[in-house]
């Protein structure tokens, strides 16, 4: 049995009907456990105090914001090459989850930035890149909702996702270039992963696992809804023809 079996809507529905509750439970357990561990059972940072604990939300959501777009890119490619409808719908389903993750990353970043840098927003390359990613998500979702025919919408959004990915990477480098060009040396780096201590590291891993599971569960659940909506659309068309 190949992985493409799951591209059949019926097979996909049957499998995910069992998988979604399990994944949701696992996601809930990981998130509760990881966040509780991180918030209450780790010491305050000697420099940052309790504010450091926002990494348990900030880092996983930022990771998932990028990975959601990557997943959409892969799903779009599968749709363009192999024409599996479930793949196109999964890409559609992932976008709102991805944009929420981006928003969480931006908001938690601002909340963290206020005590650390004395400002909610700075045009740091990393922050700016996330803001641009946010705009890309919005454009992608707007294009999906603007086109009536589902296959046309799937095709055009896939092309946009491909071109958008190239430009997103390009923007990342352009933004790096731009900020160094404007503020010589005075860069606010967010590279916390490198110097994060073990005592913060393990709960962070659990939280990341929780966010990954949450993402997968949400995307599967949303894809199921999209499949049902597509089926409704197909049945209505058939009824209109009769």
């Amino acid at each position: 049995m190949s992985i493409w079996t799951y591209a059949n809507p019926a097979k996909f529905m049957a499998t995910t009907a069992r998988a979604v509750p399990i994944l949701s439970l696992l996601a809930g357990a990981c998130l509760l456990g990881g966040l509780a561990w991180g918030f209450f059972f780790t010491p305050d940072d000697y420099r940052q105090g309790a504010t450091v604990k926002i990494i348990y939300l900030h880092v996983p959501s930022a990771l998932m914001a990028i990975n959601a777009w990557l997943m959409m890119l892969v799903a779009s490619l599968i749709w363009l090459v192999r024409r599996h409808h479930v793949s196109a719908l999964a890409a559609k389903a992932a976008a709102p989850v991805g944009v929420t993750m981006t928003l969480i990353a931006l908001v938690t970043g601002a909340v963290w930035g206020s005590p650390m840098w004395g400002t909610y927003w700075a045009w740091d390359p990393r922050l700016t890149s996330f803001l641009i990613l946010f705009l890309f998500y919005i454009g992608y979702m707007a294009l999906w909702s603007a086109i009536e025919d589902p296959d046309t919408a799937a095709d055009l959004t896939s092309v946009l996702c491909l071109v958008g990915s190239v430009f997103a990477i390009l923007s990342r480098y352009a933004v790096n270039f731009w900020n160094q060009g404007l503020h010589q040396g005075a860069s606010l780096s967010l590279d916390k992963e490198e110097n994060v201590a073990d005592v913060f590291y393990y709960p962070l891993l659990v939280c990341i696992a929780g966010f990954v599971l949450l993402f997968v569960a949400l995307v599967l659940a949303r894809t199921r809804t999209e499949i049902r909506a597509r089926r409704l659309h197909a049945l209505q068309l058939r009824e209109r023809m009769a």
């Binding site: 009907a17 409808h85 058939r238």
Partner: protein, 208 residues
């Protein structure tokens, strides 16, 4: 020169299957007239034959590079003159004698007039004159005689006959009898009954 052939063709508009099970051959030098009520899928079928949209199933031979497609929307620019419009399409297809095309549809006197100042019938003749300039053997024409007067219809029929006489092929979606020797294909017989064509994977019963 080979003819135009469709094998077990099914066409869809906006994801909705309209016609299925179409098979026909049109030999060089002959014409095919498509009839059927409005909305049955004449335009969709012509667009599929022209290669503008893929068939749902089945195949069409030959491909689009031997086919000239002519519809109501004739692609003529109102601010360009008749001759300029035709010259553009003649150059795009790398062939064709503009003077002859103008003559065939009585447009010679209008050659320097802007296309936006033509009457509906004159405009239609301009669109048909373009077909002559494509130099392609297979003409697909969607309601070609709309807004033509009797005299123009006769001239159009002459042009089609000349095209057929030169070994060309014409497929016409039309309700007007042009007096051209042609096979007639009534599309009502190929209308898709609900559930007979699985165009949409989501319409199957298996999805819970």
């Amino acid at each position: 020169m080979s003819g135009l052939a469709a094998r077990d063709l099914a066409v869809a508009r906006g994801g909705v299957p309209l016609l299925a099970g179409l098979s026909f051959d049109v030999a060089p030098g002959s014409a095919l007239v498509l009839t059927g009520r409005n909305g049955i899928g004449k335009t969709t079928l012509l667009r599929t034959l022209a290669g503008l949209q893929p068939p749902l199933v089945g195949e069409v031979t030959p491909g689009g590079d031997r086919i000239a497609y002519g519809a109501h929307a004739d692609g003529m620019k109102g601010t360009l003159t008749v001759a300029e419009n035709l010259a553009f399409w003649a150059k795009m297809h790398g062939a064709g004698d503009i003077a002859a095309a103008l003559e065939a549809f009585q447009l010679s006197a209008l050659r320097d007039r802007a296309a936006q100042h033509l009457s509906a019938g004159q405009r239609r003749r301009l669109g048909l004159a373009r077909m002559l300039l494509t130099g392609r053997p297979i003409w697909l024409l969607d309601e070609p005689t709309v807004s033509l007067d009797r005299d123009s219809v006769l001239r159009f029929a002459d042009a089609v006959r000349a095209h057929l006489g030169g070994g060309g092929i014409a497929v016409l979606a039309s309700h007007v009898d042009l007096g051209i020797e042609a096979q007639v294909l009534e599309l009502e017989a190929f209308r898709v009954r609900p559930g007979t064509v699985q165009g949409d994977v989501f319409a199957g019963e298996a999805v819970e």
